[in-house]
């Protein structure tokens, strides 16, 4: 029996910094997929939407975007990750540049956060991933 089938990791904290957005849709599904797996493995996972990634948190964007033709929408990947326990932060300083109002933000976002929150997350986490 292969040991690779068993999970024995300790709890870790992981930050996924999501900078990809609609202009590179093919990069927008996997970060949420890996976030779902990490959360399922007991990791404390936060996704921080910033730069063009902030647009994924705007209503009407992720639900009309797929990473590949005929695939699930990015919003569905975001919801799967949310169900698995991933927490979502939206970068407040990025919002004006992408014309995102608070009322435009999808309900899956847990917190609209300042850049210092991202700094805290990065400095305190075990692993940081950038997409």
């Amino acid at each position: 029996m292969g040991e690779e089938h068993y999970l024995d990791n300790d709890e870790k904290s992981v930050v996924i910094v999501m900078t990809s957005g609609p202009s590179t849709a093919h990069r927008c599904a996997t970060p949420f997929y890996i976030g779902s797996i990490l959360a399922s493995m007991d990791s404390d996972v936060s996704v921080f939407f910033t730069m063009e990634g902030a647009l994924l948190a705007k209503k009407g964007v992720a639900d009309n975007l797929t990473a590949m033709k005929g695939g699930k929408t990015i919003l569905e990947f975001i919801r799967d990750a949310k169900i698995a326990g991933v927490k979502f932060h939206l970068c407040k300083p990025a919002m004006p540049g992408y014309e995102i109002e608070v009322d435009d933000v999808i309900p899956e976002i847990n917190e609209i956060s300042n850049a210092s929150k991202l700094a805290d997350l990065i400095l305190s986490c075990d692993k940081a991933l950038f997409f």
Binding site: H5, Y6, L7, S40, K72, D80, A84, G85
Partner: protein, 148 residues
């Protein structure tokens, strides 16, 4: 019986979202698997990983993770338990979960509390049947077997 083509087994216990089924065994352990609803939502399952035997799993901490081509997530756990064993046949061939979800169990666990307390957080019988059908209708889930 079926709801939207999703098989329901009346002798089993379920979580309130009908993601997992639980069977009470004579030795005091519980066997856990995915429902027909869950395997259909996941699509072809490519990988299953289970916590090592002897690992304590508190309420809310998954017993396993599932990966398919379009979905990744936990096999949830709704009571405190310890992993007793994994189904090696399923670990080696996860697609069995798509073919026979009620035969292809994932893990066997021992509840940390009393059997009655653990079962009290699950639903069964007519309540489970009604809830299972309501879930398939509410989320427009139509089950398919054997996704490859």
């Amino acid at each position: 019986m079926e709801c939207n083509g999703c098989e329901f087994r009346p002798e089993l216990y379920y979580d309130d979202q009908y993601q997992i089924w639980v069977r009470r065994e004579e030795d005091g352990t519980f066997t856990i698997g995915m429902t027909d609803i869950s395997q259909s939502i996941a699509g072809k399952i490519l990988h299953v990983r289970v916590r090592k035997p002897g690992t304590l799993r508190p309420n809310g901490k998954p017993v396993a993770t599932i990966e398919s081509g379009k979905w990744a997530g936990p096999v949830p756990n709704v009571f405190d338990c310890v992993i007793v064993e994994a189904n090696h046949t399923v670990l080696e061939d996860p697609n069995l979960l798509n073919i026979e979800p009620y035969e292809a169990w994932i893990a066997r666990v021992k509840p940390s509390g009393s059997i009655e307390d653990s079962l009290s957080v699950l639903v069964s019988g007519d309540v489970a049947q009604a809830g299972y059908c309501e879930r398939t209708q509410r989320d427009d889930i139509h089950c398919e077997r054997g996704a490859r």
